[in-house]
Symmetry: C2
Subunit: 193 residues, 2 copies
DNA sequence: CAATATAATGAGTGAGTACTCAGTGAGCAG
DNA sequence: CTGCTCACTGAGTACTCACTCATTATATTG
């Protein structure tokens, strides 16, 4: 039985997480709990009614984000996707969350241990999907015979490099959107036999 | 005329910068001024006799580091180096400074604006040297015809990816040393025609 | 309509940290 | 030797923040 109170509580909690996502996207992870509360139209103390600590709030936020990403990346699993399709879907999803995702990787060192764990798990999930496709392409002899994990690392390195150096590459507009074609075509050209 | 006082002052200043390098290498850039002072065997206030602010200290530190790296990377300029030699020298130099360098890139978001500028300049210097060699190799048709800056970005992306994820790849031993051969051979294999 | 439970408030607290400044003593000039 | 200079000291200051808690307003229960 969901009373009015329960609903209210639930919705406030959601509001806090959503606001945190937005505030962190804009200001980075040194944004204060006070800012989040204010943006959410709540008192400062309200945060701690719903989350015992800031770390806890961050962990919940990243877990939800991870779940969302996993869902959106779900089409990567379909086995008859080409390499190019795979890369396109992957970038498409990242572009949708670019601001937040790029904060996550540029400021990873500030995040609590547990959050970094969650991120690492997400990454290995993606690796798994990628590796399937890469292996198939190697079998088909369309891709160079290089250890799959190295191909994966090269891809991640390239995309993260653009995200991490956004201020050099494209300070005002989203980097991944701007360089999507460069990134994809370079990578495809590199790995092809 | 260098009086005893002047010499003392100079040596203390040097001591502070050297200690900062070591402390930051070990603890990261959230190490406090108090820690640096203590490690250097000085009072807390001494730091601010030599540097008006922590930002200033960091800027001096990174400028010196940049100068050192540039010097050590100088052999990259020699024009008759092969691609592989180039990569080896580059990694050799980074390995020498791995702890500090990896702090620089993982915690870049914490560094003062000016420091990030200095880093960006260093990077474009390296890019310049690389691009010369890459262009020559493309002319010799030993390397795929891909825009030189994209080849450079792929290389930087790959090495930085290992440094940034050191805790996943190699929590206890230096990453670059451990994966040097993997990184070099993968990259060479990828770019070769 | 009480009586109780609880979501939310916001001024307050304590911990951490860059930076200050009056004081000290070793060097140095006259 | 005397008085001044200045590198250095370290307790103190100012400020930021995550987190607390007595209080308030509102919902729920009987």
């Amino acid at each position: 039985m969901s009373s009015k109170r329960q609903l209210q509580k639930e919705s406030t909690r959601k509001k806090i997480i959503e606001t945190a996502y937005l505030v962190y996207s804009e200001q980075g992870f040194n944004a204060t709990t006070a800012t989040i509360a204010k943006e959410a139209g709540l008192s400062h103390g309200a945060i701690f009614v719903h989350f015992p600590s800031l770390d806890e709030l961050m962990t919940c936020l990243i877990e939800e984000f991870g779940a969302t990403l996993t869902l959106e990346l779900h089409s990567l699993v379909e086995t008859n996707k080409s390499m190019e399709e795979l890369l396109r879907i992957y970038l498409e999803v990242l572009i949708k969350h670019e601001k937040f995702y790029s904060r996550l990787i540029t400021e990873r060192s500030r995040l609590p241990e547990e959050v970094r764990m969650t991120l690492a798990n997400l990454q290995s999930l993606i690796a798994h999907h990628f590796n399937n496709v890469i292996e198939r392409e190697i079998d088909k002899q369309t891709v160079k015979k290089i250890p799959v994990h190295m191909i994966f690392n090269t891809w991640m390195g390239l995309t993260h490099y653009y995200l991490l150096n956004k201020d050099l590459f494209s300070p005002d507009t989203p980097v991944l959107e701007r360089y999507r074609e460069d990134i994809i075509s370079t990578f495809l050209e590199l790995i092809k036999r």
